[in-house]
């Protein structure tokens, strides 16, 4: 079996400043023949290099995607080569002086231990592992490589490439409702709450649509209730409270329309009970603040759990919520949480302990 050979890959060499990078395609199934994901080895009991174990759950998710109908991996993996890798131009330098067509020559020796392979996978470890594991005969991917002079340069590239800032959360939450296909677990869970929030926010600012235009998101900068407060309230209720009844546990889908109805009904009662506090931003009102939104979310769960939206009018929520009037201090005055715990109206923070303090305070008044 020929386990030592040269791999010749058509490539374009680009000039970047004083350096070259190489763009090429390679069968993802063969990447591990010449590239290592880590330079770890033991030398006299001293750990050398760096090991980065694969995140198998992530790999599995990519793999499932790759095995789906028409997978696409458009972004390139990044490889740092050592000096054993060569580039041979196949055509004279043309009009584009920075771009040269040729062949990248990678020496492959399958018997080499991992830490002596000529390439280091700087970016795309999970993707290439997924390709390796997938039930596919081959899967060519785009690759970008550079020839590094020494391990230190490989390392610095590794850190640079892996140090990109993730997208801002708010923006992701806004994109989620209109996203289809495979999503990472954390985002899959947020998709439904984000969709509900978007729909609540889309209606007009009037009685009956208490959240319309009031939720602040990257594209609704005039909103004043923090998107995160609303998302948390929805998620809580969806998983632990009154909104759970609209969810199908077998596939996680939900009756969004009924959820919207349920939320709008309850929060309209809140809006009508405290119209001024509802119209003020969190700085001037604890009602629209994270603490108020979440605590009243728990009040909603407590009053409406197991009751379908259509039957909410029969509960006389107006009467229940009006019981809160004497004990709240949304915009002025003090909160009386007990003999040793009196706080100014704005002395409440959006912390779990303050939220639970306020929640208990409200629930006691309802009993």
């Amino acid at each position: 079996m020929a386990d030592r050979y040269e791999m010749r890959l058509p490539a374009i060499r680009l000039q970047q400043g004083a350096q070259h990078i190489y763009c090429f395609g390679v069968d993802g199934k063969r990447i591990h023949d010449f590239a290592t994901v880590s330079r770890v080895h033991r030398d006299d009991d001293q750990l050398q290099g760096y090991q980065r174990p694969e995140v198998l759950s992530h790999i599995r998710a990519i793999r499932r995607y790759l095995e789906s109908d028409s997978p696409l991996l458009p972004n390139a993996i990044v490889l740092a080569f050592d000096e054993r890798v060569k580039f041979e131009p196949s055509a004279p330098v043309g009009d584009l002086s920075y771009s040269v067509v040729g062949e990248l020559i990678i020496p492959v020796d399958e018997a080499l231990p991992d830490d002596e392979k000529p390439a280091w996978l700087v970016d795309g470890q999970q993707r290439s592992a997924a390709i390796r594991d997938a039930d596919l005969a081959q899967f060519p991917v785009a690759a970008v490589g550079f020839i590094a002079h020494g391990e230190a340069e490989q390392r610095s590239q590794f850190i640079l490439v892996n140090n990109t800032k993730p997208l801002p959360k708010g923006l992701i939450h806004e994109l989620l409702p209109d996203t289809t296909g495979h999503l990472p677990v954390a985002y899959a869970r947020k998709q439904l709450p984000a969709l509900i929030m978007t729909r609540l926010n889309a209606s007009a600012k009037e009685i009956g649509t208490p959240f319309g235009g009031r939720i602040s998101t990257p594209t609704t900068p005039d909103g004043y209730i923090k998107d995160n407060s609303i998302l948390k309230m929805i998620e809580n209720s969806l998983y632990e409270g009154a909104l759970y009844q609209y969810r199908d546990p077998s596939d996680g889908s939900a009756d969004v329309q009924q959820i919207e109805l349920h939320l709008n009904y309850f929060w309209t009662v809140v809006q009508a009970a405290f119209p001024e506090a509802w119209n003020l931003p969190p700085l001037k009102s604890r009602l629209t603040h994270g603490a108020g939104i979440q605590s009243l979310g728990y009040v909603m769960d407590s009053l409406t759990e197991g009751v379908p939206a259509a039957e909410l009018p029969g509960l006389d929520l107006e009467k229940a919520i009006s019981k809160l009037k004497p004990i709240v201090a949304w915009t002025s005055g003090t909160w009386d949480f007990g003999p040793d715990n009196v706080r100014r109206w704005n002395g409440l923070q959006n912390t779990p302990s303050d939220v639970s303090l306020l929640t208990n305070h409200l629930l006691r008044a309802l009993r």
Partner: protein
């Protein structure tokens, strides 16, 4: 004889993907998940035991409940929260285990009753303080003063407990907790509890006792026990002795042991009515902490481990019971053990399991749907299902006891 299963938030996810070992990303813990009484055709117990310390937290760290779950338990009550079918009862206790190191119980009778009434339990055990020691020769007076004090505390709190239950006319069956260190002291506790008005009494601190010691205590208790007094054994399993126990007025007990053996025991992981087998260990490369550490340290090759893990699963899934299949499975499991650097080989025990293939014989709904998967020691979803299977075996064993009457629903489901 009634069996109660102590709750420790043990559920399984019905949408778990065994093929890919993945949860649905949308799964909601506890709400979407199923209890043993929901996933098995017949509830494998006549009741659940819920400890306050597990729900509310106690001295040894926080409880097992998130604050949202806790709030929902109080809001919905124990029956709706646990989605208990008709006939499955609820019993509350304090979980005295969690404050065994304290001088006095860090919980009042009032708080305990708030928990029982707030959650709507059928019955509740009075506040107790465990005595960890057994000395049949020590008399009531001449004994470690700390033990005597714990028994006094337990009796005083029991008195306060039943007084409040009757004064407030609470809808709760009061169960008096008896502590002791000898047959005499237990009998004395029971006698005093009966005088207070208890008709049901839970015997605590008996978990470490030998069966003979338990019988000695029961015999002594029997001399003072009123014919109407029912006894509960806290945390004691010993199914084989239950007929004997029942002769002395024991009508119920609770235990996690059949369940926990599925993943805590070295070898008796898969129970059958007359035997126990070792489950087939195929640890998850990315889920097993010991294996993860070994990979991180560079002692185990992640690549090799993943490859062999898959081979093992494939071979087990293709298992057809033939001699060749048994041999192949043992060889691959053995190879995986070598890669994972497991010191002790389980070859002989695996052969016994694979030859008997007990999951094929089992009538429980889990074995019928999962087949060999339930016998694979791997991750919480398989291990807990095997635990549930063990409980259904226990329920079957109990049905055959001469003393036994499981709940009426359980029987009616069987015609």
């Amino acid at each position: 004889m009634k069996f109660y299963f102590p709750d420790s938030q043990d559920l399984v996810s019905p949408t778990y993907d065994f093929q890919h070992d993945e949860y649905s990303p949308l799964r909601v813990r506890q709400r979407d998940d199923l209890y043993a009484h929901e996933i098995l055709d017949t509830p494998p117990y006549s009741g659940i035991l819920v400890s306050k310390s597990i729900v509310d937290g106690a001295m040894k760290g926080a409880g097992k409940y998130t604050s949202a779950q806790r709030a929902r338990l109080y809001r919905l009550g124990v029956e709706r929260f646990f989605r208990l079918p008709k006939g499955v009862e609820s019993l509350g206790d304090n979980g005295a285990f969690n404050y065994v190191d304290e001088l006095v119980p860090p919980v009042t009778v009032e708080e305990t009753l708030d928990f029982y009434i707030g959650c709507g339990f059928d019955a509740g055990v009075s506040v107790d303080h465990i005595i960890f020691g057994y000395d049949p020769l020590a008399s009531l007076d001449d004994v470690d003063p700390a033990w005597a004090e714990r028994r006094r505390i337990t009796l005083r709190l029991a008195e306060e407990f039943i007084t409040q239950v009757s004064e407030q006319n609470l809808n709760l069956q009061p169960v008096g907790a008896a502590q002791g260190w000898s047959p005499t002291s237990f009998a004395d506790s029971v006698e005093q509890l009966q005088k207070m008005g208890y008709q049901r009494i839970a015997l605590g601190g008996m978990v470490p006792l030998k069966t003979k010691d338990i019988l000695d205590c029961l015999q002594e208790i029997d001399k003072v026990r009123l014919p109407t007094t029912e006894l509960h054994l806290l945390g004691v399993t010993r199914v084989e002795s239950m007929d004997l126990f029942s002769d002395f007025g024991v009508t119920s007990f609770d235990s996690t042991s059949a369940f926990r053996q599925a993943f805590m025991d070295d070898r008796n992981n898969f129970h059958t009515e007359n035997d126990a087998f070792i489950a087939l260990r195929v640890p998850q490369v990315d889920g097993n902490p010991a294996l993860k550490r070994a990979i991180l340290a560079g002692r185990v090759s992640q690549k090799d481990a993943i490859a062999q893990e898959r081979v093992c699963l494939r071979v087990l899934r293709e298992f057809d019971g033939s001699a060749g299949a048994i041999e192949r499975a043992i060889a691959e499991l053995d190879a995986y053990e070598t890669i994972c650097q497991v010191n002790r080989s389980h070859q002989a025990e695996y052969e016994r399991t694979l030859t008997a293939a007990p999951w094929n014989e089992c009538e429980c709904s889990l074995c019928k749907t999962l087949g060999i998967e339930i016998a694979i020691f791997r991750g919480t979803e398989r291990n807990k299902r095997r635990g549930f299977h063990n409980m259904s075996v226990l329920a079957n064993k109990m049905k055959k006891l001469k003393s036994n009457v499981l709940t009426s629903t359980t029987r009616s489901n069987h015609g």
